[in-house]
């Protein structure tokens, strides 16, 4: 009973609560901001409270309603779902906190907070859904909200980019929906719990992968993500670290690691596709001059590592992939929020026009390099463990050549992140009015420091996330090899 209540709170408090935010905003903007933070925090706390029962199988965190036409509307909080929900809602909450500082100068804040909280809420719904159709519904709610958020600044170019992101991800989702129907044809149900362990056809896998890769910005469906950098920085951070691109990764784990069996050939095809994605986007990141686009390409590249971990089919790799979701979320969230501070206070996104900012933004510079170290996978930061496990997972499924390709990707990662860091924060400045540039506001600095600190702590205290992930991997039914 308790589990069911917590589960409902985690989903419906942000989904339903978001619509009250504009009302709250009419009363006081301060109240609205706090309420937004509270709504997302409730999701995190409720998810965290489900943790003990989720780790012991998650049967307590389950309810469903029978609907006509044989549909079921159900939610389940098992280990994987709770893990993903905790990561997303935690980073989401930090980003809402940051938004309070960042968004304070802009119009339409009521709309902003409504969308952001609904965005996180739809992620919660998606993560806990047991039914493919409702999973799809939350998937599309996220897409619609995301479309508005990317186009938040309403300029012509911005709206065009938002349309592009919407069209690509919705195209993918519709293709995926066809895949769902193929599964329905085969099993006669959309309820994932009833089709555990079913081997689905290659067509269904391929169609679903299109949806997943479109959402998780993987080659060749990735170019909307760098373009989405026109959104307000906290939104980009949300897209990259907590919600949007993590949907595809989560869906991959949910479908192909927990639920369906698939032809083993996919354990070779997917790593090759994501390997190409990781290297092409890393190369693009080295050339890119816009700081937000640069970090966006980095996300595309790092998503390749996550997919590699999840797709090779070895336990080490899966564990690494899941840890990677956490580590990358913390670090990439931090990087984007730092980029937001830089972009807002320096007034440009072009890294060739910056330089020397460490002098005026010491906190931002240090948090940026902390997060960058974690993305590079250097110990003692958390990214080290996930990167090692992903690579050794590829090795232990006897795909050492793919692992070697990813080592090249990791080298490129070091190069482009150091390049970004030095061009923004080191050397002589090229900015006019350098003396007047100030550090971000206090809530912004607190947010980035928390993320950077956790990136470090997640490495030193790796035993906690690692034990969590270990339990999740044991729960997974369909682990091939």
């Amino acid at each position: 009973m308790m589990g069911q209540i917590l589960l409902s709170l985690a989903i419906f408090v942000p989904v339903a609560g978001s619509f009250f935010l504009p009302l709250a905003g009419k009363l006081s903007s301060r109240f609205r901001n706090i309420l937004a933070f509270v709504l997302v925090s409730v999701s995190f706390i409720a998810s965290a409270a489900m943790l003990p029962s989720a780790l012991s199988g998650g049967q307590a965190n389950y309810w469903q309603i029978e609907l006509p036409l044989g549909l079921t509307f159900g939610f389940l909080g098992d280990g994987l779902a709770v893990f993903m929900a905790m990561v997303s809602s935690f980073i989401g909450a930090i980003i809402v906190l940051y938004s309070i500082g960042y968004m304070s100068h802009y119009n339409n804040q009521n709309e902003y907070y409504l969308l952001v909280v609904l965005f996180i809420g739809s992620m919660m719904g998606l993560v806990y859904s047991t039914n493919l159709i409702f999973l799809y519904v939350f998937w599309e709610i996220a897409a619609i909200v995301c479309w508005r958020l990317i186009g938040f600044f309403r300029e012509k170019e911005t709206v065009k980019r938002a349309d592009k992101a919407f069209l690509v991800t919705v195209f993918g989702a519709l293709v995926m929906l066809i895949g769902f129907f193929l599964i329905y044809q085969q099993t006669g149900t959309f309820d994932m719990l009833q089709m555990k362990g079913v081997q689905i056809s290659d067509w269904a896998v391929a169609l679903i992968l299109v949806g997943i890769f479109a959402k998780s910005a993987t080659l060749p469906l990735h170019t909307w993500l760098p373009d989405a950098g026109v959104a307000p920085s906290p939104v980009t951070s949300l897209l990259h670290a907590a919600v949007l691109v993590k949907i595809g990764v989560y869906a991959y784990a949910r479908f192909f690691l927990v639920n369906f069996a698939m032809n083993p050939v996919w354990h070779i095809v997917v790593p090759i596709v994501v390997g190409l994605s990781a290297i092409v986007s890393a190369g693009a990141a080295i050339i890119e001059k816009d700081i937000k686009r640069l970090i966006a390409y980095s996300t595309v590249s790092q998503l390749g590592f996550i997919f590699l971990g999840l797709s090779t089919g070895s336990i080490l790799g899966i564990a690494g992939g899941l840890l990677y979701i956490l580590m990358h979320g913390l670090a990439k969230g931090g990087l984007f929020l730092c980029a937001g501070i830089v972009e807002q206070n320096a007034g440009t996104k072009d890294i060739t026009k910056m330089g020397g900012l460490i002098k005026v933004m010491p906190v931002t510079a240090v948090t940026f390099i902390f997060c960058a170290f974690s993305v590079m996978g250097l110990p003692p930061f958390g990214g080290f463990f996930s990167k090692y496990l992903v690579i050794s997972g590829a090795v232990s499924s006897e795909q050492a050549w793919i692992a070697l390709a990813f080592i090249v990707g990791a080298i490129l990662t070091i190069i482009y992140l150091l390049r970004a860091f030095t061009m923004v924060f080191m050397g002589e400045t090229k900015l006019a009015g350098f003396e007047d540039i100030r550090e971000g506001s206090r809530t912004m600095l607190v947010s980035v420091s928390v993320l950077a600190g956790l990136s470090l702590a997640a490495g030193i205290l790796i035993n906690y996330p690692s034990a969590f992930v270990q339990t999740i991997v044991q729960q997974m039914a369909v682990v091939i090899r």
Binding site: V168, V280, A284, P379, F381, V395, I414, L418, M426
Partner: protein, 612 residues
């Protein structure tokens, strides 16, 4: 002694290093005290540890990543050496870094580095080794950054070059752990089949990369100029060599079955030989005290790799002996360079000269250690080099000849350096230069005395520290002794030294200056152009690598742009073309639209009727 104490040399310095960040900037002596306490405690602990056997396992990361530490003869020897150098250099830095605006951070990084190095040495789990090993990258980057604004390109270069080597090590560890089914280093012993050799090669790259061998070396000469001097004495000269050669020995002796004459052995010896020769050729023409030394820091590691690469007991013993000797004289040489810089204000050899009288103790230390690195008997460098020569001569004449050439150029460049800095005419602005303060002199004196001790009484290090590492592989043989095993090779080595001396006098007579002693080599026809290109960094592997990465990235970027074009332009045009026909039907006429709607409804009604 509880096995838990194995955590001390890791956590004490790391903890104090972390505390250092909390010390307010204005507090006097607190940071210095923390540094000295941290290094001293580590030193005491590692002295207590010496010769003991301990094991400690703490479950940590899951998935086989247990914090497993093992103290045995080899690791206790390396740990002790690390602690000694860290303490001496800490003592030196307290004076030499005084008043440096980044001193606090530098001390903190120094302590953290000490803790991480201890961790890497004690690790008995490959993944934990990797954790500490790669963690040093962050500290390396941070330490070079303390050199000031201009240091950041060098810091990036160091991180990228070492990062490449470390990522190779990561893959090597992954493969090794997979093949052997365990990450416990004392349980792994793999044959060199295809994957075995592949893993060995990757781990070797990691090891020699840390040691600063070619092609992972080119950040060292840059750091010599940009980073604070104690950094050079601590990391590239001492700790990184110890660590790199430690791992190289571990993989060659324990983790893999490494045979003389195997392909890997020849590859390793080739890397060693190339490193010796090219780096020393570069050292020869340097006109800056620190930069000259830094090229020797690269060149000397070539000897160690060559020695261990022979896979013969004599070569491995020689390589290890050379490792500890090099750490001694190289760090002492950097320290002498530091005191010259501190007292005379520059390390530019064109502006130095005649300092020997003003700084007699520094000069004496320099003289001893320079003689040791040049291989003058009976100093320590002579004996370790002889062992490597014997191993090399047994493995292939070409390796021996290259090693000899290296010895010639080493001696020649140190004759030039000593002459240019300490002898000759003193500049008037250096009339008031004084000897360095005692805390800077003491470490130099101790290390220089050690160079004499380890030479004259080489049984002490060989029998107690180095030969036990090989254990049974040695078959009870001992290479200790004041008399050389092969009079022929020793004679040739001494002959080479005499030649170097003759060359020096020839050069000095020719150009009338100590600095010009090797100009006849520098500006020899043919060599002159090569040197010019080298000075322009045409051969810097980092620059070459960056050009390649830049080119490939550009191509990948265009691939990406191509894909984007499909979305932004191609799809839009395609849709426009495809919709041409339909567009004609949408004229804006309401009547037509109503007709369409009605038609559609009728069609739907028919459909429903048919289906029901």
């Amino acid at each position: 002694m509880s096995d838990m104490m194995l955590l001390f040399p890791i956590f004490v310095p790391v903890f104090l290093g972390a505390v250092m960040f909390l010390v307010p900037g204005k507090a006097k002596w607190v940071k210095e005290a923390l540094l000295l306490i941290g290094t001293a405690v580590t030193l005491v602990v590692s002295i207590l540890f010496f010769g003991k056997n301990m094991d400690f396992v703490l479950p940590w990361g899951g998935f086989g990543m247990d914090l497993s530490l093992k103290l045995y003869q080899f690791s206790s020897f390396i740990l002790l050496s690390v602690a000694v150098f860290a303490f001496l250099i800490a003592l030196y830095s307290v004076v030499s870094m005084k008043g440096h605006e980044q001193a606090k951070k530098f001390y903190a990084y120094m302590l953290l580095t000490l803790g991480f190095v201890s961790g890497a040495v004690l690790a008995n789990n490959l993944i934990i080794l990797l954790f500490f090993w790669e963690g040093l990258l962050v500290l390396l980057f941070a330490m070079i950054m303390t050199g000031g604004k201009k240091a950041s390109p060098t810091a990036v270069k160091a991180l990228v070059l070492n990062g490449v080597a470390d990522l190779c090590l990561l893959l090597g560890v992954g493969i090794t752990v997979f093949i052997s089914g365990t990450a416990a280093m004392d349980k792994i012993n793999l044959p060199m089949d295809f994957w075995g050799s592949f893993a060995f090669a990757l781990m070797m790259i990691g090891a020699i990369g840390k040691a600063g061998s070619m092609p992972f070396h080119s950040w060292i000469p840059d750091a010599a100029i940009d980073a604070p001097l104690p950094f050079m004495a601590l990391l590239p000269a001492a700790l990184e060599k110890l660590l790199g050669i430690y791992l190289l020995t571990r993989i060659s002796l324990d983790l893999f079955i490494f045979q003389p004459g195997s392909g890997m052995s020849i590859a390793m010896m080739t890397i060693g030989a190339v490193t010796i020769l090219l780096a020393v050729m570069m050292a020869l023409i340097q006109k800056n005290f620190k930069r000259l030394l830094s090229y020797h820091a690269i060149s000397q590691v070539g000897y160690m790799i060559l020695g261990i690469g022979t896979a013969l007991p004599i070569g491995i013993v020689g390589g290890l002996f050379h490792m500890i000797n090099n750490a001694m004289y190289k760090s002492a040489l950097f320290l002498t360079g530091g005191s010259v810089e501190k007292q005379a204000g520059t390390t530019d050899l064109e502006k130095l000269g005649g300092l020997g009288r003003k700084m007699p103790i520094t000069f004496t230390c320099f003289f001893i250690t320079a003689a040791a690195i040049s291989g003058v008997p009976p100093l320590n460098g002579f004996f370790s080099k002889e062992l490597i020569f014997e191993g090399a001569a047994e493995s292939g004449l070409v390796f021996y000849i290259v090693a000899l050439l290296g010895a010639f150029f080493t001696a020649a460049s140190f004759l030039k350096l000593g002459h240019a800095a300490f002898l000759g005419k003193r500049r008037t602005e250096h009339d008031n230069v004084r000897e360095a303060p005692w805390p800077m002199l003491v470490p130099m004196i101790i290390i220089a005395a050690g160079c004499i001790l380890f030479g004259v009484y080489n049984a002490l290090p060989l029998n107690n520290l180095i030969q036990p590492v090989l254990g049974a592989k040695l078959g009870g043989e001992s290479f200790a002794g004041i008399l050389p095993a092969s009079w022929l090779l020793a004679g040739i080595s001494v002959g080479v030294l005499v030649l170097a001396l003759a060359n020096h006098f020839f050069g000095v007579k020719r150009t009338k200056s100590g600095l010009g002693a090797v100009d006849h080599i520098h500006y020899a026809p043919g060599l002159k152009t090569v040197y010019k290109w080298a000075e322009l960094r045409y051969f810097d592997p980092y620059n070459i690598g960056m050009v390649i990465v830049g080119g490939i990235s550009k191509v990948l970027w265009w691939v990406d742009r191509g894909i984007d074009w499909v979305y932004d332009k191609f799809t839009v045009r395609l849709v426009n073309i495809l919709s041409l026909g339909i567009r004609k039907a949408h004229t804006g006429s309401h009547r037509l639209y109503i007709a369409w709607a009605l038609g559609g409804m009728a069609l739907l009604a028919v459909l429903v009727a048919v289906l029901i």
